[in-house]
């Protein structure tokens, strides 16, 4: 019986992501060009003269027909041209690229934190139904989705910075005394380790903890809930009974058999959680003055820096499409049946 090869599955999935990318480009095109009012005025900014507006209208080709405009737009995207930021004066692309590592580091840290808590909690709750852990996890799941991210962040700052003095001031990635490590990946934790710079590492970690925890708490609730539910469902299935009847050791049954099968819905939920995480990222960056693309977008919004905002939206959307693709591929790795055409 032949199974489709891994390569063909990967190609299939990548091709499947193309409609989404196309859709994202179309939507952002509509948002940036096909608006009520004069898009040129938006791009020129509130302080622009009539000449500047006309100039922009020309360079963006806003006088042409819509289909022509669309091709111009796509052409610009392929060249990596997202316009210029009014506030920084740089190209939007360079602004975003400079600030992207900060956001990535934050999101990754938050994700690791939430998975590190959610998975064990969910497993424990499922293996000890009715216990206090089980009840706590269920309450956590309901309460956790009610928490406004910005509120949690502020609360944590108040408790851990102001009251307990444990956390450093929430003023960005590194205190002023420190200079950023040599850029290899852009992730301060990784770069400082690579340079062997313990001081900077600890300082960066200290600044990272509170925002990462805030972000992670947001993802914790849905992940813990789905882990618990999935494990419960899997533990009562037939093949677990077979595994027990064969006398396999409890940890083999739990991790090798039960957890791997339970991973499938968890990975699916991860896709949904990412959507929320990317949005919550913006809020957390504002609260903690984190110099990522989220706070970039927020200041751009306030300043009506139009090109910057739309560049941000497009970037995040494309990032999300890529993330979903990765999750899809992860799914195929875990579940060999996923590659089979139904």
């Amino acid at each position: 019986m032949s199974r489709p090869s891994t390569v063909s599955i990967v190609i299939q999935r990548i091709l499947g992501a193309i409609p989404s990318i196309l859709g994202v480009i179309i939507v952002t095109f509509v948002l940036t060009r096909a608006l009520p009012g004069d898009p040129a005025a938006y791009f020129a900014g509130p302080a622009a003269t009539q000449e500047a507006i006309d100039q922009i209208r020309d360079s963006l080709g806003l006088n042409r027909s819509l289909p022509e405009q669309f091709f111009i737009y796509v052409g610009e995207l392929l060249r990596g041209d997202l316009g210029n930021s009014l506030t920084t004066g740089q190209t939007v692309v360079s602004d975003l690229l400079t600030r992207l590592p900060a956001s990535l580091e934050l999101t990754l840290a938050g994700l690791i934190f939430s998975l590190a808590l959610a998975l064990p909690l969910g497993i424990l709750a499922a293996t000890r139904p009715g216990s206090w852990i089980d009840h706590s996890v269920r309450i956590l799941a309901t309460a956790g989705v009610s928490l406004p991210t910005f509120f949690t962040g502020l609360l944590l700052i108040y408790v851990f910075y102001f009251r307990l003095g444990l956390a450093p001031a929430p003023l960005g990635r590194l205190a002023i005394l420190f200079s950023s490590p040599d850029q290899v990946t852009g992730l301060f934790l990784v770069d400082s380790l690579l340079a062997g710079d313990w001081e900077t590492f600890r300082a960066a970690l200290g600044q990272l903890i509170l925002p990462a925890v805030t972000l992670g708490l947001f993802a914790l609730a849905p992940l813990a809930r789905v882990t618990r539910a999935s494990m419960l469902s899997v533990l009562s299935s037939d093949f677990i009974r077979t595994a027990k009847a064969s006398g396999l050791a409890p940890h083999t049954v739990l991790f090798g058999y039960a957890f791997r099968n339970a991973l499938l819905p968890i990975v699916t939920t991860l896709g949904v959680v990412f959507s929320f995480l990317l949005g919550a990222n913006v809020l957390v960056e504002k609260v903690f003055a984190w110099p990522g693309i989220g706070s970039y977008a927020v200041s751009a919004l306030i300043a009506s820096d139009y090109a910057a905002v739309q560049g941000f939206v497009l970037t995040m959307a494309l990032l999300y499409v890529v993330l979903n693709l990765l999750i899809d591929l992860l799914y195929t790795v875990i579940d060999p049946r996923a590659g089979v055409e139904s």
């Binding site: 409609p19 989404s20 859709g23 994202v24 179309i26 939507v27 952002t28 948002l31 940036t32 608006l35 009520p36 309901t142 309460a143 989705v145 009610s146 928490l147 406004p148 991210t149 910005f150 509120f151 502020l154 609360l155 700052i157 108040y158 910075y161 102001f162 001031a169 929430p170 809930r225 789905v226 618990r228 539910a229 990412f274 959507s275 929320f276 990317l278 949005g279 919550a280 913006v282 809020l283 504002k286 609260v287 977008a297 927020v298 919004l301 306030i302 139009y306 905002v309 739309q310 941000f312 939206v313 995040m316 959307a317 999300y320 499409v321 979903n324």
Partner: protein, 289 residues
Amino acid sequence: MTLIQPIKRPSSLAQARYIVSENRVTFGSFLLFFALVLLAIFGQAIAPYDPMASNAAVALSPPSLAHWFGTDDLGRDVLSRVLVATRLDLGIAVIAVVLSFGLGSILGTCAGYFGGWCDRIISRIIDTLMAFPLFILAMGLVAALGNTVENIIYATAVINLPLYTRVVRAEILVRRDAGYVEAARLAGNGHLRIMAAHLFPNVLPVMMVHISLNMGWAILNAAGLSFIGLGVRPPTPEWGIMVAEGATYIISGEWWLAIFPGAVLMLAVFCFNLLGDGLRDLVDPRMRT
């Protein structure tokens, strides 16, 4: 021949009492929900101070008997502002949810009922919307349409649209070939009548659950957008914007400006989530996780 005694149905009051006793948590969240609605309607009337009245003398004073939630940087009473903000926050969320529920139901019913290219087109649109992280799409929409409260509502409605469309479509698909639909068709009912009078009413109980859960999320979204400075402008009292204004003061220890509005926000969202969970248990325990 013996006469069969008709089954004695319990009175509505007895039924209600039974349902309440079985689901205390849900009942509690219902009470909280009503309290919120009352606050939204009468908040202005029961607020002890004028939410806009500034009083520099008592600025930044901590919670006290005179000001239960303390005062903010302009000396305004935080409690009054929080109470009055209920109407705006709930209002934004309710209107947004009504809009997206309305449009989503129509789109979902058409997609599920007619199938074919109608379904394909609608599903494509929804999939495209879902390709965006939703909060960020809302940001982009508000930036494109303009920074006003109306646009916050529209943006929130748009990002909630996929949920309703998909759920209604799924529910309609399940019921489309049911016996009673066949019967209605054979009786000569037109498509519109079947969709509106026969199919959709059966979907309503499930939708109640989703609406309740979604309300919580809509409130969080709207508050999030105003936290980053979109939509509502000062000095309008609104939970999100109050937390944003209070954020700068928390570092210096004046916690009450941000914590109280944030806590009430959380409570409102929590209420709707509990309500949704409780309704789900009532409507279809199989949906429970």
